[in-house]
Subunit: 288 residues, 2 copies
Amino acid sequence: MIVPHPRLSINQATITRTTVAEAVRVTKDAGVGAIGLWREQVQEAGLAESARIVAGSGLRYSTHCRGGWFTAEEGPVRRAALDDNRVAIEETATLAAAGAPGSRAVLVLVVGGLPEGSRDLAGARARVRDAVAELAPDAEAAGVTLALEPLHPMYASDRSVLSTLPQALDIAAGFDPAVVGVAVDTFHLWWDPDVLAHIGRAGREGRIAAYQVCDWRTPLEADNLLSRHYPGDGVIDFGPLTRAVEAAGYDGDVEVELLNQAIWDAPPAEAVRRTVAGFGRAVAPHLG
Amino acid sequence: MIVPHPRLSINQATITRTTVAEAVRVTKDAGVGAIGLWREQVQEAGLAESARIVAGSGLRYSTHCRGGWFTAEEGPVRRAALDDNRVAIEETATLAAAGAPGSRAVLVLVVGGLPEGSRDLAGARARVRDAVAELAPDAEAAGVTLALEPLHPMYASDRSVLSTLPQALDIAAGFDPAVVGVAVDTFHLWWDPDVLAHIGRAGREGRIAAYQVCDWRTPLEADNLLSRHYPGDGVIDFGPLTRAVEAAGYDGDVEVELLNQAIWDAPPAEAVRRTVAGFGRAVAPHLG
């Protein structure tokens, strides 16, 4: 068995059909030291029970996935989204507190796309900023960092109007770095000609709250949401990106989050085993 | 019948199953004033015959599609690609000379993705610059403008390592604007938070050699290459983009280039009719 890198964390999206208990078990059984759970499964198990399972596992908690989806115009839908994010903040604080030392209270935010029927991209982006401003006091009170995640531009209309790292950093700039940071995900950012400089800026501004690695390969799957691959199975050169994140001062866990039907169809233990192997080959050599 | 906007041009990719003669006929029959042809069909008809057809039509020639595909490392494949681009330059000059007054000798360049098995994105991008430097003297001698087209980042690995307008402008900066320019395509650039500023820069630097409009809609088609829609059928706000291109000084024809299986399956005359209508509603009101 390949010994997992000590900073590897399994994001539950990689083994999405698991319950919290199952996800924690296969992660621990593989010798991995950290996990990030998804809200759907946490709510299914219940927050208290999820926290109990995490606490009993000895795993670190790396991120909570995910908040966001707050690009709607003012009204009940927007209010409900913001309230739901407040719940997510509390979940994050609870689960991070239950994790082993080194856990991080980081809530990843996928901000959402254009509201149905809208073409006002600039307006949606402005409402992201407004939402962060509204949620920041709650995050601060809970000791949680909101991690703005720029998603690949192919998701700009339906999942995330936040498309680049500078965009995320510009929003974060108005807030304490302990409260609002960014998530760096290789799948979303690898194509950017200036990504290394942007990561450097994120480091100087103290904003890197999460680092996620997964690979890009074409042709994309018919459902482009499910087009992520084990590190090393695609075309991303993890060396420069990982060294840049390291040089930027990020020393936390590194998550692998693979939305991919074939991986979901595999037994979770096998998905974790292959994640450990891919990470070991493609990412670990570049970690300090 | 809707009267086509005088600056609309039909790119042959919208009616890809046509011969040159058919493409010219349906374009002219619809009352459209300009056309851009594709190399495959031009070579099938023969360059001299294609030029004769264009000359007889009274249509302006807007762009020739397409050169590029020169990211290979040095060797026979790269040499063949560069030689083929020299042929494309000659085709462009010949067809533009055959077109009505107002024709433009513009060769659109889709630069190509990563070579098979490569993860060296920076290297591939450097070879784009080298290829442009090699082809510029040929283009200048022929009176042709090479239009570097940044493609959507979802094509970075397999079709175009050129992903943003600044990247294209930085390459173009070393050359006479009459020889190396850029192509602005709404489908590829609409998501960019700074796209209006980038278009402004392109104008100041005299680089806008082509403006293409088509729409973005999700979910994308299973083959994401074929995901383009008639203007107005998606989420792109053509107002700010078109006004920025106008303000940047571009006064040439505006092409609609729709790679989409359903559009290809329609009779070409219907595709042109719907293009005229969509352009009239979504784009024309923003042209000076």
